[in-house]
C-alpha cells in the first residue's frame, strides 16, 4: 500500500481546480495529482503513491547514496591488498 514508484514529470496542468500532471514511469505514463509538490517542474523526478506525488525525489542525494555504497569496503580492500 505504501508502495511508491519513482517517475519523471512530463506535463503539468490544472483539472477541476487541482494541480495535476503526466508522469512517466520508464515509458508508461499516468495522470498524477501534483497538489502536494507545488514546487515541482517538468523534468523533475517524484515518487508516486495511489496517483499522488508525495515528494520530489532528490537526485543529488540519490547519486550520493550510490557513491557511498560503491566506496564501501574499498578502503578495506586496499588495506588487505597491501597487507
Amino acid at each position: 500500500m505504501c508502495l511508491g514508484i519513482p517517475g519523471q514529470v512530463k506535463e503539468i496542468y490544472e483539472a477541476g481546480g487541482v494541480r495535476m500532471g503526466i508522469v512517466d514511469f520508464a515509458g508508461i505514463t499516468k495522470e498524477v495529482c501534483l497538489a502536494y509538490v507545488p514546487e515541482i517542474t517538468i523534468g523533475d523526478y517524484t515518487i508516486v503513491h495511489v496517483g499522488f506525488a508525495i515528494t520530489q525525489l532528490d537526485e543529488d542525494s540519490a547519486q550520493e547514496s550510490l557513491r557511498l555504497f560503491a566506496e564501501m569496503g574499498v578502503l578495506q580492500e586496499e588495506l588487505n591488498a597491501t597487507a
Binding site: 497538489a35 502536494y36 496517483g51 508525495i54 550510490l66 564501501m72
Partner: protein
C-alpha cells in the same frame, strides 16, 4: 527504471552485506515496520543472506492487514446496498470479513469497483449523481493525503453522493505500543520511508529519546533496506540510540508540508482498533466534524455487526512479530492466497503472503528455512 534499478545493484548489495557482516558481533532483533519492506526482504532473500545474529521481525505496517474486522463487515454491508457503488484499492477485495469478502459481494451482483486513486472515486460520484459512491479510505500516513484531498475535493464540488469509510492508522503510536509491550523483543526499528516522506522524521525523535532505541528511516529497494540494516546494527553495536535517515532522496526532517496541512484540515486523531492487535490509543485519524457529512459510517449507520475471526488464523501474532508466518499451523494448508484465513495472506504487503509467494514454506527447529 531510473532510481529503482540502481538501488537493486547486486555488486553494491554485496558490499553492504560484507559491511554488515564485518560490524556484527552479537545477536540483534530489528523490526522493519512496513510491509513493503517485508516483501523486499523476503523477495530478495535478504534475511537469509544476513549474518545469523541478525533477526528481522516483520512489523504491523500493512494497512489492509490491520483494518479492523468490524470495519470490513461494515464495508460488506454498505457494498451490498443496491444504490451504492463501493470503491476500494484492489488489495481490500479478498480480505476475509466474518462471513465473506468484497469479491463475494461483487459476485452477488453488487457494484464493487477497484480504483487506482481516491480521486477516481470522486469522478465516479460526479458521473453518477443518482448513486451513492463510497470509498474505502484505508492506509497509513502515506495514503492519507490522497484520501484527504478526495474528501476535500468532494466538499468543494458540493458532491452529496460521495462518502468515505475511514480506517486510517499511524506509525508512531504503533511503535510505542510495541515498545511498551511486555513481550517486546525489538531492539531497533527500520522506519517506513514513504510514511516519512509525508510526515517527516521529527515525529520519531521523542521515541528514540524516550525508549533509547535506534530508529533508521529506510527505503524499499534492496540497497535501501541493507543500508538501513547496516546503520541500525552499527548503532546497536556501539550502544547508541539515534534517529537516522537512510532514505534521503525521498525524506527530509520536515516532511511534506502541503500534505500535512491538508491532513490537519480533514482529519483528527482518534483511538483505533488494529486487527490482531487491539485498540491503540491515538493511533488513527477520523474525519473532522466539518467533514462528518462525508463519513460513510454516519451516513449508512450500519448496525448489528457481529464479528467472528477464524479460529485457525494466527495473524495477530504474526503482526506483533511473535510468530513467523511459516510457524503458523494453517500456513500453506488451510490458508493460502486463494483461500486466505487472515488479511496477512491477502495483501501485497502482508507477511504471510510474502512467505507464501516466495516459497518460504517450512522452518527447521534451528530456524533455517527448508
Amino acid at each position: 527504471m531510473k532510481y529503482l534499478d540502481e538501488f537493486r545493484n547486486p555488486e553494491l548489495a554485496q558490499r553492504l552485506f560484507d559491511e554488515i557482516r564485518s560490524v556484527t558481533t552479537r545477536p540483534w532483533a530489528i523490526m522493519e515496520v512496513c510491509g513493503g519492506q517485508t516483501h523486499s526482504i523476503i523477495r530478495n532473500g535478504i534475511d537469509q543472506l544476513l549474518p545469523v545474529e541478525i533477526e528481522l521481525i516483520h512489523g504491523p505496517g500493512c494497512p489492509v492487514c490491520v483494518t479492523p474486522l468490524e470495519l470490513i463487515d461494515k464495508a460488506l454491508a454498505i457494498a451490498s446496498r443496491p444504490t451504492v457503488i463501493f470503491c476500494s484499492f484492489g488489495d481490500m477485495l479478498r480480505v476475509p470479513g466474518s462471513t465473506k469478502d468484497l469479491f463475494r459481494v461483487k459476485s452477488e451482483g453488487n457494484d464493487v469497483r477497484i480504483v487506482y486513486s481516491p480521486l477516481d472515486a470522486v469522478k465516479l460520484a460526479q458521473a453518477n449523481p443518482t448513486r451513492e459512491v463510497v470509498f474505502f479510505g484505508i492506509g497509513f500516513e502515506t495514503t492519507a493525503p490522497a484520501n484527504a484531498l478526495a474528501v476535500h475535493q468532494a466538499k468543494r464540488l458540493g458532491l452529496r453522493n460521495f462518502s468515505m469509510l475511514v480506517s486510517h492508522v499511524l506509525v508512531p503510536p504503533a511503535i510505542t505500543a510495541i515498545l511498551e509491550s511486555p513481550t517486546n523483543r525489538v531492539q531497533a526499528f527500520l522506519a517506513a520511508g514513504h510514511v516519512c516522506s509525508v510526515m517527516g522524521t521529527w515525529e520519531y525523535e521523542p521515541l528514540v529519546e524516550r525508549y533509547r532505541v535506534p530508529i533508521v528511516v529506510t527505503g524499499f529497494e534492496p540497497l535501501d533496506v541493507l543500508e538501513g540494516i547496516r546503520r541500525t546494527v552499527l548503532q546497536l553495536e556501539r550502544g547508541e540510540a539515534q534517529l537516522e535517515n537512510a532514505y534521503t532522496r525521498a525524506v527530509n526532517r520536515a516532511g511534506n508540508l502541503p500534505a500535512q496541512q491538508m491532513l490537519a484540515d480533514v482529519f483528527e486523531v482518534t483511538d483505533r482498533g488494529w486487527r490482531g492487535i487491539g485498540v491503540i490509543p491515538n493511533s488513527g485519524w477520523r474525519l473532522r466534524d466539518v467533514y462528518r457529512d462525508f463519513d460513510a459510517e454516519t451516513r449508512f449507520a450500519v448496525q448489528n455487526i457481529h464479528t467472528e475471526e477464524s479460529a485457525l488464523c494466527h495473524s495477530g501474532e504474526v503482526l506483533r512479530g511473535l510468530l513467523k508466518p511459516n510457524q503458523c499451523p494453517a500456513f500453506g494448508k488451510e490458508c493460502t492466497p486463494r483461500t486466505p484465513l487472515g488479511a496477512t495472506m491477502v495483501s501485497s504487503e502482508g507477511a504471510c503472503a510474502a512467505y507464501y509467494q516466495y516459497g518460504r514454506f517450512a522452518q527447521s527447529e534451528d530456524g533455517a528455512v527448508l
